[in-house]
Amino acid sequence: MKDNNQARKLKPAYVILILTLITSIVIAISLFTGRYPKAGISSPTIVLTDDLALKILWIIRIPRILSALLIGAVLASSGYVFQMLFANPLVEPGFLGVSQGAAFGAAGSILLFGYIPVLTQISSALFAVIGLILSFSLASKFNFGGWILRLILAGIAVSALFSSGLGLLKYIADPMSELQDITFWLLGGLWNADWKTLLSILFICIISLTILYLYRWRLNILSLDNRSAHAAGISPVFEKRLLLFIATAGTAAAISVSGLVGWVGLIVPHLARKLVGSDSRFALPVSMILGALYLLICDTVGRSLLAGELPLGILTSIGGALLFIILLTSRKSLGKTI
């Protein structure tokens, strides 16, 4: 009889292999999916013999697919790291005022300069980092509770401030132009992704992914309370701050290109744990691959399902919410599967 309390479900190596294989197939499908040479999936032989189709492939689709993979991996791994560091399976990367800061920055830039993608990207990244710095410095000013509680409260306060600022910007924005641009950015999407935007975030995202990956086993110990982590020879406060900063920097870079893409950082880590168990040695890399795959699927569907493009954030939220409901109503409760 199968023991329901067995914590690891599948061999991690097989899961990683199968997910990599599926991701490769989705990449191949995505490469040949679009509006040209025909709507839907085109035959590779036709695309590869058509000069315009090849140009579209190289200039638009490949950087967009790479951006989706990179941003998905960053958002999922950052969400995973946040959940471990806060020992709370319901937090996500936008937790420390980062998402609302980025949204405020993007809206401010659109209002001041009009929608110029590179300026919006810089401004959103800048305000995401400001959100993080404000949360950290506010938390250090509080003189009660543990560090994590102070950070959570500071994050809530900073997010609320940026959120009200965003509301004000939307209120004064021209509803015929600026407000539409702001709303579209807030819904998230990769229509602006090209080689330039990809290169602009590549360095930070790769550094973030690499460091988080290297820390994957130690993350387990950092999910214990600080006193136990200290007893195990770890410097919990310093290492938690370091990893929070790195995960948030990656998130800030990612959402500066994609806009607000919700649920990836929240739901993907749960799926990863469901597949390979809670040991971060395996669950973190699986989260990275799953996040990349999830965002690529959503983006491919979003740009090919209808004649117009469906915002990415809407699709990730629909998918994320459905998966969340499935997880919550599955035979085991969420509390037992995480």
Binding site: N5, P89, R218, S278, I338
Partner: protein, 260 residues
């Protein structure tokens, strides 16, 4: 008695937030290679003292010597190879397997970003064996009972291969059956020469396995001596402010509350 492993010199600790002094000018020695119990009523400063011995809290005044050397001079790695902790309780949010969890104890022996290897897994299995949980190694820690949780935290600390094991109220939330199980395992470990210091508010637990007892009262050292000398009705009554009696049956010490 063997040499002392810990020497505390005039330790005072005051909480920054509340400005409350919880340890007052404590000087004491903790013997090497024996089971010592830190006994006292709730709020007497036992957990704070354990935190200071662990290096988690820094005393406001005084110093802690471990094997004759100032505790603060040990590196994190050195310290955690020497001293490990079994907390009273630990919120466990993620369903690690028992083996995953015990492996965390190997951190002091691995490079900063290293992963546990075959040898670490062998040591983790030995630790699981010593608490009798080997068969459950692939179970989720979130599925364990209270008694099993205490044992798995003990196994994780043993995987650290420490010379000194600190336990913060290891039996306070356990039923009598599990209490006896935990104490019996500690007694077995004590026979191997491991220095064990456990805090408790239960004098029966101290009487069961401790060779040496330190009594704390309101943050001050009340008494410290071998258990056979210190566990008297008078001392316990003065420590707890409740009328307690002590009877010796064979080699066991039985402590009971006198009814009016």
């Amino acid at each position: 008695m063997t040499e002392n492993i810990f020497s505390l010199e005039r330790i005072t600790y005051t909480y920054q937030d509340s400005a409350k002094t919880v340890l007052h000018d404590i000087s004491l020695d903790i013997p090497n290679g024996v089971i010592t119990s830190l006994l006292g009523p709730n709020g007497s400063g036992k957990t704070t003292l354990i935190d200071i011995l662990l290096g988690w809290k820094k005393p406001n005044t005084g110093k802690v010597l471990v094997k004759g050397r100032d505790l603060s001079s040990y590196s994190r790695r050195e310290r955690s190879k020497l001293i490990s902790l079994v907390p009273q309780n630990e919120p466990l949010q993620f369903s690690f397997t028992l083996l995953d969890y015990v492996l965390f104890g190997r951190a002091p022996y691995l490079p900063q970003l290293g992963l546990p290897g075959k040898k670490d897994i062998e040591i983790a299995f030995e630790a699981l064996e010593s608490v009798g949980l080997t068969d459950l190694h692939s179970r989720s820690i979130t599925s364990l009972s209270g008694g099993e949780r205490q044992l798995i935290m003990l196994a994780r600390s043993l995987a650290q291969q420490p010379e000194i094991l600190l336990l913060d109220e290891p039996t306070s939330s356990l039923d009598p059956g599990n209490t006896e199980k935990v104490l019996d395992i500690l007694q077995e470990l004590g026979k191997s020469g491991l220095t064990i210091l456990f805090s408790t508010h239960d004098p029966s637990a101290s009487a069961h396995i401790a060779e040496y007892i330190i009594m704390l009262s309101e943050g001050k050292k009340f008494l410290a001596d071998k258990s056979k000398f210190i566990l008297t009705a008078e001392n316990l009554t003065n420590l707890y402010g409740a009328k307690l009696n002590v009877t010796h049956v064979d080699e066991s010490i039985i402590i009971y509350r006198e009814s009016n």
